[in-house]
Amino acid sequence: MVDRIIFVCTVLLAAVYLWATSKIPTLALGDPLGPKAFPQMLGIGLLIAAGMLLAEIIRGARNKAATEEKSEPFRFEKHHAVILAIIAGTAAYVFAFERLGYMLSTALYLLVMTHFFNRGRMLMNVLTSVLFAVISYLVFTQVLGVNLARGIVPF
């Protein structure tokens, strides 16, 4: 089942990529191939790869029919919701990164994440989150000269 979805996605992606390739304006300059030829090859290559996958799916289905094994259908379970929540939380972190600044957004992100995934150790979580955010900010900006978003923090 999963492989069939990958097959459809691959074909769609190849189609979009080939379409986008055709939109690249070409100016006849220097090299005989221009900027389009290589992407065209890649688009066609991806279609061929999709064909290879289709062959594998068909062969796999034949083998499965022989052993009478049934693939389990995808079921939405709790841990999938957890993954989505982590992605949403990390997206919020990225969103806040420049707006609140590195120190605040990182401290908040770490507090929330450790609260859920390292339960029952409040003191440890709060200390790690705050200390990591402050110390890493100071080390990277002051010692290593790496630029990190300051945000609404005055230093």
Binding site: A49, L53, M113, T114, F117, N118, S136
Partner: protein, 502 residues
Amino acid sequence: MDTFTHILNGFVVAMEPMNLWYTFLGVLMGTIIGVLPGIGPSAGIALLIPITYGMNPTSALIMMAGIYYGAKYGGSTTAILIRTPGEAASVMTSIDGYEMAKNGRAGAALAVSAIGSFIAGTIGVIGLTLFALPLTSMALKFGPAEYFTLMLFAMTAVSTLTGDSPAKGVIATILGLMIATIGIDLQSGQARFTMGVPEFLDGVGFVVVVVGLFAMAEVLRGLEDIFRGSSAQAMKITGKLWLTKEEWKRSIGPIWRGGIIGFVIGVLPGAGGTIASIMSYTTEKRLSKHPEEFGKGAIEGVAGPESANNSDTAGALVPLLTLGIPGGGATAVLLGAFIMYGVQPGPLLFQNKPDLVWGLINSMYIGNVMLVILNLPLIGLFVRLLYIPQGILYPLIVAISAIGAYAINGSTVDLWLILGFGVIGYVFDKTGIPVAPLVLSLVLGGMMEQSFRQAMTISSGDLKIFYGSTITVVLLAMSVISVLLPFIIPMLRKLGSKGDES
């Protein structure tokens, strides 16, 4: 004679206090990265690139190489004490290593992997020293057509040898090449596939792709495991950190054989450390007088694979340094690091910057000595890392990744890309699409297109140039074989089993 002076000079460079310090930092970080689950050598090196920007290239590259080979030492500790490989190539070690730990021989298992890694790692570096120059003299004859076919071979080998499905490997490879086409085309100045995002004009940086695919995706997997309650606990080290005479006798053969197998596999593109350690394991099982002990704590099953995956790293540096073409995911990241420092590996590097190349190679002899000290007498320190709660570790990895990515351009676009590629990496892992081929082809993509177009310009548009010389024909043939191999092997097996029946 000239070469010999260069090699000796390399030792002078490697022994400079500054470079000794960076060798130490590199192997120390490598050990830590290897021990900790969640961040591997590829992501570790990629994260260091923006932070070390502006450093002396020799020192920076010595440090990054240290992370690369040092991680293999650390990976075995996790494999033995928790049964999850801290680093992908330690997967074979986790079988017999963990069984030994359960039998109260954790100390011996850790000792044999550190000693084996040291001996085999040194065998690997000696091999690298010996084979580097003959290959560079061959590589000097390479034109764009030869380079194009060489890259094609590296990619086909990686895409069909990693993972179970060759088709998915090829899909990953082409996706990487497609990502590489995003940005301004250097030959015509034409912007391609930027989707209106100005940051994409410079292309999608490989650092964010690597950090996303390797670190962020691993965070998602790790946190999912914590939620499902399936993350494992570390065993205590039991027994002395040394071998009995009997164990030593049983290990020395596997260490030598593993070292040689690992180096050879490392030089070839595609296979890499995991396959090297599997090959060593099966070899030892076949040679053993008591194969039934394998899987139940046979010391040969730790000594061989652990040695193989260490000499593999030195082997993998051979094509990277001499030809400028990596044969796998981690060396592709190293190539990216070289390029960021304005250093182009390849035959000319040995002529133009012998100090850098030989300084780097010879620092590996010293690094291996440092590693055996870190991983034997000081192993207790690193084992403590395993007691850091993973619920804290994974969120910290996200924050560290954010620092590294933001440091590149000071733009949140790179942070979104990390998250996006993290999700892609997670989905790829669940659906069986390998990520190593994508990283390799992303790093090589620009060079591949360039050499293709240069070759076509030379031949004024005639494809004949790609099968015009012996080298290109051989490389093309090897590419075709590596694509067909996964289809031919099952067929041969079928034929073989039919032959047995009749």
